[in-house]
């Protein structure tokens, strides 16, 4: 629902970096999104199309990598992947786990000319 705001962050950071690099155009932007954020890729792509219009990023590809959730068990230190509803250690059954991956909202890199 707030993909517009998120996308605004992506476009402005990319345009800024492209300007710093004296680029003439942006071909693609790579972002990483954790699956536990409230971001939907479809809505993000839509917002990107709208917000990149009339910028140096217009027509570029937004390459989205969705990262699965991962936690580390506080009891036995096992690292395990999980979904939204099962953040429970598969080794020892503990619920005391720390999320180490899944809430990312990151711009990684871009391809420019």
């Amino acid at each position: 629902m707030h993909e517009m705001g998120i996308c605004d962050g992506i476009v402005s950071a990319a345009v800024e970096a492209a300007n710093d690099a004296k680029a003439s155009r942006i071909n693609s932007i790579d972002v990483t999104i954790g699956v536990l954020t409230e971001i939907q890729e479809e809505a993000l792509q839509f917002a990107f199309g709208v917000l990149s219009k009339d910028t140096i990023a217009e027509g570029s590809t937004l390459a989205v990598t969705m990262l699965p959730a991962k936690s580390v068990c506080g009891e036995c230190s096992a690292e395990f992947g999980h979904g939204r509803f099962d953040a429970k250690c598969p080794e020892c059954g503990s619920f005391v786990c720390t999320l180490v991956q899944g809430r990312e909202l990151r711009i990684d890199s871009m391809d420019i000319d």
């Binding site: 990319a14 492209a18 690099a21 536990l36 409230e38 953040a87 909202l105 711009i107």
Partner: protein, 221 residues
């Protein structure tokens, strides 16, 4: 040509949130961000919390709404400093809005700052405001299936308030199922069933909150 950016998409918000957090720490203010759907009872819960804790802590409130000053006026009527933020359409609060609101408060005179986020079960979860704890409220009439539909907010909240508990008999709310799903999503979050307007069950919540406030005062090891 490839260029590395390696930046948080919400970096601006997160940096400002860290600034807020440092400010709150330096002033000894505990900050809780209350999130819920429209009408779930955020303002009522804040009023009940004020009634229970006002003798122990100096409290102030930031009210986030898309429009109007109604909620801030309700709080101010109880003699509690209240700042209204109108987001003008935005579905959540961001850390710069909090900073501007906080700048109108005298933090030296506040122990507990309660933020009422904009009514929404989705968007507020991705935005750090610099708070110590995010807490959510679900009200009985919304239904026990909400954790399936909006898992993110249940996962991110340190505690879950089940409000309008007095209406349990009129709705087909399955409390056991609700508690089970919340446990699967967020095993460490306590669930406080209460009735904000009637006062029942409020004490368990305010005792938990006081314990959190006191724990935050202890130097970090």
């Amino acid at each position: 040509m490839r260029v590395d950016i390696a930046k948080g998409i919400l970096e601006k918000n997160d940096t400002l949130a860290e600034g807020n957090r440092a400010l709150f720490a330096s002033k000894g203010v505990f900050v809780v961000d209350l999130m819920a759907s429209p009408g779930a009872g955020k303002t009522s819960t804040i009023l009940a919390t004020i009634a229970a804790l006002r003798d122990r802590y100096r409290i102030a409130v930031i009210e986030g709404d898309i429009a109007s000053r109604v909620d801030a006026e309700k709080i101010a009527a109880h003699g509690i400093p209240a700042v209204q933020i109108n987001t003008g359409g935005a579905c959540h609060l961001e850390s710069d809005m909090i900073r501007r609101a906080v700048d109108t408060l005298d933090l030296d005179e506040i122990d507990l700052l309660i933020i009422e986020n904009v009514g929404n079960l989705v968007c507020p979860t991705d935005f750090d405001l610099g708070e110590h704890a995010k807490v959510m409220i679900l009200s009985v009439p919304e239904g026990h299936d909400k954790p399936y539909k909006y898992p993110g907010i249940f996962q991110l909240s340190e505690a879950v308030i089940l409000n309008k508990y007095d209406t349990l008999s009129v709705f087909d709310f399955n409390e056991a199922e609700f508690r089970g799903v919340v446990r699967d999503l967020n095993p460490s979050a306590p669930v406080f069933a209460l009735s904000a307007t009637k006062g029942e069950g409020v004490e368990a919540w305010t005792e938990w909150l006081s314990a959190r406030i006191e724990a935050a005062k202890e130097p970090q090891s």
